[in-house]
Symmetry: C2
Subunit: 259 residues, 2 copies
Amino acid sequence: MTLPTGVPEFSKFSSGSAVESRIEAFTRLSADDRQALAALGQNVRYVDSRRDLISEGDKPKYVHLVLDGWGARYKTLPDGKRQIVSLFLPGDFCDLNVYILKQMDHSIGAITRLKVAMITPDEMTRLTHDRPRVTQALWWHELVTTAIQREWTLNLGQRTAYERLGHLLVELYLRLRTVGLASNGRCDFPLTQNDLGEATGLTPVHVNRTLQELRRDGLIELGRRHLHIQDIERLKSVSMFNPNYLHLEHEGRHLDANS
Amino acid sequence: MTLPTGVPEFSKFSSGSAVESRIEAFTRLSADDRQALAALGQNVRYVDSRRDLISEGDKPKYVHLVLDGWGARYKTLPDGKRQIVSLFLPGDFCDLNVYILKQMDHSIGAITRLKVAMITPDEMTRLTHDRPRVTQALWWHELVTTAIQREWTLNLGQRTAYERLGHLLVELYLRLRTVGLASNGRCDFPLTQNDLGEATGLTPVHVNRTLQELRRDGLIELGRRHLHIQDIERLKSVSMFNPNYLHLEHEGRHLDANS
DNA sequence: CGTCTGGTTGATACGACTCAAATTTGGTGG
DNA sequence: CCACCAAATTTGAGTCGTATCAACCAGACG
């Protein structure tokens, strides 16, 4: 079986090589490395939109790798409040080695229909043993993922609604761009205003009003599952976006934050 | 040089074995494992209270291990706002493998005077090569750290000021207890109300008022750098504290959340 | 004993929430 | 192609939690 090339459901962007793109944001891969990565796509699973891939309390058995679609990690409080704590885009791995833990402390749900590879502990062991460059890249991925989590903490703790939403949109755009799913300020954008609220700690009503402000200020167009960032430099500026936490400055690639 | 046993500055609790305690929360160690851990204490550094151990923009060269004292990871916004994104207690490692990254995207500062071990990439490589049990424990530590980061995201996004502070106090108490620095609801507590504000995304004034509420409700005593949780079960309950994210249920240890 | 840091109090302002309803969009089947 | 329905978005009015600003106080320290 070769690297999956599934056709995205509502996109003109190809995500067939998202995994490679993601890893190559950090390092160049050899043919063998690519081979090893492709081999991870053996055990594929599909999850329908708005269904869970894995739920809080479950025993994690695999490392997951998103081949296509968007997912969300979320936690639920006894009083019913939900917080999306992170978003998964094509090419994203869930935590390496999760299977060490006895049970999941959160759930992972599908925003769109999801195509994920399930990687066994054995496969992970083999990979880290045989392919040091890929292993280093996975480490980089892991460090970036936790850096994003920290930035979200900052986002929720210190930014206003306006800044928070602007920041999130820029982050998602840049992340999509590194896997070839965005360009020219445009990308598919399947999150509802309710999702945005759960990710930013705002009510859907307030998300709505704040998005209108961002539109009114000529920063974005957002609707019909599509985002257009009209002036990314200004959006970065008003949301105090500093791309350093994405650690994209490796191997001289992705140095240009524009376009 | 043996495992450091430094005497804490204002504590009756010993933190000499915090590192072992932390690791043994996950797994039992062999004599060789202990030896290997102790050997990490070769390169020790002290950082005065309120000074930085490492700053945003620096090139990370070492993995840090907190031997004594409290530290904080924080991020600063261009408008001057600060957010503490995580706290380091004795026995905590900073991110394994950080030195892969080109530069720090945040700073680490000392709350109290800090005693830290600086672990070189070589040492890390040797450790993970020679001591698989320790390596697994470090992985567990890494996964727990990011789980805590997610819980903070939830905390900031969905809990009220009252719940947020209560939750943070319970978390810190439990974390201190697993390294032998807390018992009977009591622990040293060097955070100022300003620190608490920066960790919870609240203003110091509101922290002050909210702490008064927690006191008034008979949940805590807090002052003179000392915390006493009077009714931990009730505090857990009102702050919707679910200890699952600390993943302490290994090897049958630390099952009892009381005392 | 004065200085400084951290803690406390009061008055006022505002950002975000709540609740409720209307409107638009997208998908489905007749 | 249109009628229908559910989901998502939008609007309005009123409230509340937390921020802001400005003092004041207490204990630690030199």
